[in-house]
C-alpha cells in the first residue's frame, strides 16, 4: 500500500549557505539509512529526482567523489519514506491506540548560488524563503571549515531569516514555528575533531569501528566554540541568530559527518592517528576545479538522527 503523504506543510527543508554540503548530506543520507538498516529511506518523487538521487549517491559511494554543486537542485523532489507509530483514535470512550503507519515526508533541498541569497533580494531568495516558510522543519547545515575560509554564514542566514519573519507576519516578538536541526558538518575533519577533543566533548561508540561522537547535548557548545574560531567573520552570531528567530526548544544541534571517518581495513577500528577520509585538493582554495576525493568507504556520522528527530516532530504536529 502506498504510504500516506504528509501534508506539504510537514515537509523538511535542507538549508544552509552555499557549498556547505547539502547535496553531499542528501547523498549520504541514503547510505546512512541503508547502513543503519532503517525502515526509512529516501526516494525520488519522479523519474528525474530518482535519477538524480541515484547519481548523487553512487558518486559518493562508488566513485568516492563529492557531488558537484548543483544549480537548480531545488527543482527535484524527494521524500523521506518510513514507518511511524501513531496514535489512532478509537471509538468514543476508548481513547486512542498506537498503530504503525507508513509515512512520506517531503524532503526539499534548498540550494542556491552565493550571489542569489543573502543581501540581495532577488526572485531566487523569494522562492527560498517561501519554501522554508512552507516547511515545518529545517535542517540547517553549518560548515565550520568553509567558515574558516570564507566566513559568510551570517551573511547568508540573516537576510533569509528576516524575510521569513516578514512573510509570516506574526505578532511582535513572535518566533518562527519551525523545528530546526542544526547540523554542524565535517566532523571528520582534523580541525573539527581536534577542537572537540580539546573541549573534552568526545565519546566513542561502543560498537565497531568505534567512531568518536559528540553527544547531542554537547553539540551546541561545540558549535559555539567553532563559530568563534574564525576571528575575521561574524560566524559567532549565527547561533544567537538562530535562537533569536526560532523557539529554543525547537532547535536541536547535531555534530555530523556525511562521509565519516576513514578506517584502515588492516585494523578495522577507528585510529585516532589516521582517520582522515577527505582528501582535499589544494586547488580548491585557489578556486580551481576541485579534485577532492574520499579515501575510504562512506560511513556517515549523525546524518540519520536529525532527520528522524525532525520526522517525529513534524508528524506529531497537526498541519499548519
Amino acid at each position: 500500500m502506498a504510504p500516506t503523504p504528509e501534508p506539504a506543510e510537514h515537509s523538511i527543508t535542507m538549508w544552509g549557505p552555499p557549498a556547505t554540503g547539502k547535496t553531499t548530506f542528501l547523498a549520504a543520507l541514503s547510505i546512512a539509512l541503508i547502513r543503519h538498516g532503517s525502515v526509512w529511506c529516501v526516494n525520488g518523487a519522479d523519474d528525474a529526482s530518482t535519477e538524480k538521487l541515484i547519481s548523487l549517491t553512487t558518486s559518493l559511494a562508488t566513485d568516492r567523489c563529492f557531488p558537484p554543486a548543483t544549480v537548480g537542485i531545488a527543482h527535484y523532489r524527494w521524500s523521506l519514506d518510513g514507518k511511524l507509530m501513531r496514535k489512532v483514535p478509537r471509538r468514543r470512550w476508548f481513547g486512542s491506540r498506537l498503530v504503525e503507519q507508513d509515512v512520506r515526508i517531503p524532503l526539499n533541498l534548498v540550494d542556491s548560488q552565493g550571489k542569489l541569497v543573502g543581501r540581495q533580494r532577488g526572485g531566487a531568495q523569494a522562492d527560498l524563503v517561501k519554501n522554508l516558510n512552507n516547511s515545518s522543519a529545517i535542517i540547517f547545515l553549518y560548515d565550520p571549515i568553509r567558515e574558516f575560509d570564507r566566513g559568510d554564514a551570517f551573511d547568508h542566514t540573516f537576510g533569509v531569516l528576516k524575510q521569513m519573519s516578514r512573510q509570516l507576519e506574526g505578532s511582535p516578538g513572535q518566533k518562527l514555528p519551525h523545528y530546526v536541526a542544526v547540523c554542524v558538518t565535517k566532523f571528520d575533519e582534523i580541525r573539527i575533531l581536534s577542537t572537540a577533543e580539546k573541549l573534552d566533548l568526545i565519546s566513542y561508540d561502543p560498537d565497531l569501528p568505534g567512531f568518536p561522537r559528540v553527544a547531542d547535548d554537547d553539540a551546541r557548545e561545540l558549535f559555539g566554540e567553532l563559530s568563534r574560531i574564525p576571528h575575521d567573520s561574524d560566524a559567532d552570531m549565527v547561533l544567537n541568530l538562530l535562537e533569536q528567530n526560532f523557539h529554543r526548544d525547537r532547535i536541536k544541534y547535531f555534530i555530523t559527518s556525511a562521509i565519516g571517518f576513514y578506517v584502515d581495513p588492516r585494523i578495522g577500528v577507528f585510529d585516532p592517528d589516521n582517520y582522515q577520509n577527505h582528501l582535499p585538493d589544494p586547488d580548491d582554495r585557489k578556486g580551481g576545479q576541485s579534485q577532492s576525493r574520499i579515501r575510504g568507504p562512506i560511513r556517515p556520522v549523525n546524518v540519520v538522527e536529525p532527520l528522524l528527530w525532525l520526522a517525529e516532530r513534524v508528524t506529531s504536529e497537526p498541519g499548519r
Binding site: 576513514y262 592517528d273 582528501l279 574520499i294
Partner: protein, 476 residues
C-alpha cells in the same frame, strides 16, 4: 806487499767501507794502473746515497824524482783531504811503477785495506754501492685528508735504514686527477723530522682511482714502483713548485656510493626528464671518479590511498652496482614508464619518499661498508607522507607510520653522507631543505650543470689538481 786478490775480497772490503761511510766523509780509493794513479772518492749525498767520483789517471811521470817514484809526492796526491778512510787497489801488479807506488803507499797507510784487482773497479764499485744498505728511512710523499677535509702533506714509510736492494713494500694509494703534470711519486730520505731530503721525484699520468702498488728498492737512491699502468718520467719542476700546487682541502677522500631515488609518478615527460638527469649525473661522475663509484637506484611513487589511488611501489632497481649497470637499469625503467599511461594515476599530494629513505637506511646497514661515503640524490616533485595526520598539509599519514625525520637522523650517522636534490620546485618544505643540504638543481634549468652539482656533493673533485697520491689515514 801482497794484498787480497779477487772480486770477492775487494767487494767485501769495499762494502764494509761504504756501509761505514758517514755522511760528510770521503772514502778515497787509490787505484794503481799502468796509466798512472787513479783516485776515486766515494761520498754520500744528503739522502745518504753513496756516489763515486773518479779523476783521470795521474801519470807516473808526475811522481818521478830522478827516475825514482817519490813517496811524499804520491802521499800528497792520494791522501784524502778530510782525513777519511783509504783503500788501495793495485790493478796492474806487473807494471813496475804501479807496483812500486802500491808498495810505497801501502807502507805509509798501513791500516788501509789493500787489494789486487784486475777487473773494472768502476763496475765493482757501482755493484758495491747498489748493494749497500740504506742509512736513512725512505718514505713516499703522500697526501692525507683529515676528517675535516684539510689536506696534509706527509710520508708513507717504504724502507727502513738497513734495507737492501730487492726489498719490496706493497701499499695502496688513490690518485686524484693530477692535471697535465700527472701524479708525483717523490721518495724522500728522512733522518729526522727536520732532515728530509729528496731521493727521487718522478711523475706519471694516471687515471683517477685506487692503485695497489709495490715499491721495489733497486739500490740506494732508486725506487721502482710496480703496479702502475704507465711509465714514470722525471719531474722537471722544482720541489717548491710542486708543493705549491697541493690544495688546502679536498672534498673527496673516500669511495662514494651514489644512491639515486627517482620519483616515477606524474606526467610521463617529467618522469623521462628525471631519468635522463639521473643518467647524466651517473655517467659524468663515473668519468670523473672511475672505480671508486658505486651506484644504487630506487624508483618510487605514492602509497595507495584508498581504492581510488593505486600504489607505485618502491623498486630497488640496482644496489651498490657499477655505473654501467645502473645506466642499463635506468634504460629499463624508461621502457617501463613508456609502456604505461601518460599520467600515472595516484595520490598527487605525496610520494613515499619517507619509506624510500627508510629502505636506504636499512640497506646501508646491511651493506655495513664504513669506508664508502653515501651520497643520496633525490629526483622528485612530491613531498613525503607524514608519519601522522598533518592538519596543515592534510596529506594522509604513511601507512607504515614511517617518520622521515627519524630516518634522516639515522642516515646522518654515516660519516661524510651528502644529500642532493633535483626538483621542479625550490626547497619550500622542511624535507626538501634537508634533502638539498649539499646540492640543489632545478628541473626547470635547461642545462643541468653536473660538474657543479657533483662537486657540491663531493662526487667530483673541484677544478684544482691533486699532485700527490692520497693515502687513507688507517693505511698510512
Amino acid at each position: 806487499m801482497g794484498g787480497d786478490l779477487g772480486d770477492e775480497a775487494l767487494a767485501s772490503g769495499l762494502a764494509d767501507e761504504v756501509r761505514d761511510l758517514a755522511k760528510g766523509r770521503t772514502l778515497r780509493i787509490a787505484q794503481f794502473t799502468a796509466d798512472g794513479l787513479v783516485l776515486w772518492d766515494v761520498r754520500r749525498d744528503d739522502a745518504g746515497t753513496p756516489h763515486a767520483y773518479s779523476w783521470p789517471a795521474l801519470p807516473w811521470s808526475d811522481f818521478l824524482d830522478l827516475d825514482v817514484l817519490s813517496g811524499p809526492e804520491l802521499n800528497r796526491a792520494a791522501r784524502p783531504g778530510d782525513g777519511g778512510r783509504m783503500v788501495l787497489v793495485c790493478s796492474s801488479p806487473d807494471h813496475s811503477y804501479a807496483h812500486r807506488a802500491y808498495e810505497l803507499l801501502g807502507r805509509d797507510h798501513g791500516r788501509a785495506p789493500a787489494f789486487r784487482y784486475l777487473g773494472s773497479l768502476g763496475d765493482l764499485l757501482h755493484r758495491v754501492m747498489a748493494a749497500s744498505p740504506l742509512t736513512q728511512w725512505y718514505e713516499l710523499v703522500v697526501l692525507r685528508r683529515t676528517p675535516s677535509g684539510r689536506v696534509i702533506l706527509t710520508g708513507a714509510q717504504l724502507f727502513p735504514p738497513g734495507a737492501r736492494r730487492g726489498e719490496r713494500q706493497p701499499f695502496t694509494i688513490r690518485c686524484e686527477p693530477g692535471g697535465e703534470n700527472g701524479t708525483v711519486f717523490a721518495v724522500m730520505a728522512t733522518e729526522s723530522v727536520e732532515e728530509v731530503h729528496p731521493v727521487s721525484v718522478k711523475s706519471a699520468s694516471l687515471n683517477p682511482g685506487v692503485y695497489d702498488v709495490t715499491a721495489v728498492l733497486c739500490r740506494p737512491g732508486l725506487v721502482r714502483f710496480d703496479g702502475l699502468p704507465t711509465r714514470m718520467r722525471e719531474e722537471r719542476r722544482s720541489w717548491a713548485e710542486i708543493v705549491a700546487t697541493v690544495p688546502t682541502s679536498l672534498s673527496l677522500s673516500r669511495s662514494a656510493h651514489l644512491i639515486c631515488a627517482i620519483e616515477v609518478s606524474g606526467p610521463r615527460d617529467l618522469v623521462y626528464e628525471r631519468i635522463e638527469r639521473a643518467k647524466k649525473l651517473i655517467r659524468d661522475v663515473n668519468i670523473g671518479s672511475r672505480d671508486r663509484l658505486t651506484v644504487s637506484l630506487i624508483s618510487y611513487g605514492p602509497h595507495a590511498v584508498g581504492r581510488m589511488f593505486p600504489e607505485e611501489p618502491i623498486r630497488v632497481l640496482a644496489w651498490a652496482q657499477g655505473s654501467m649497470t645502473a645506466v642499463a637499469a635506468l634504460n629499463k625503467l624508461k621502457d617501463r614508464v613508456r609502456a604505461r599511461a601518460p599520467v600515472e594515476p595516484g595520490y598527487v599530494r605525496a610520494a613515499q619518499l619517507e619509506c624510500v629513505l627508510a629502505t636506504i637506511s636499512e640497506k646501508l646497514a646491511e651493506l655495513g661498508d664504513q669506508e664508502t661515503r653515501p651520497v643520496i640524490v633525490t629526483i622528485a616533485s612530491r613531498s613525503a607522507f607524514p608519519h601522522q595526520m598533518d592538519p596543515v598539509s592534510e596529506i594522509v599519514p604513511c601507512p607504515d607510520r614511517v617518520d622521515w625525520r627519524r630516518v634522516l637522523k639515522d642516515l646522518l650517522e654515516h660519516p661524510g653522507i651528502a644529500f642532493g636534490l633535483i626538483s621542479d620546485h625550490g626547497p619550500d618544505e622542511e624535507i626538501w631543505i634537508h634533502l638539498s643540504n649539499d646540492a640543489l638543481a632545478s628541473m626547470n634549468d635547461v642545462v643541468f650543470n653536473v660538474q657543479h652539482f657533483a662537486e657540491r656533493l663531493g662526487l667530483l673533485s673541484e677544478a684544482e689538481d691533486v699532485p700527490f697520491p692520497l693515502i687513507e689515514s688507517e693505511r698510512s
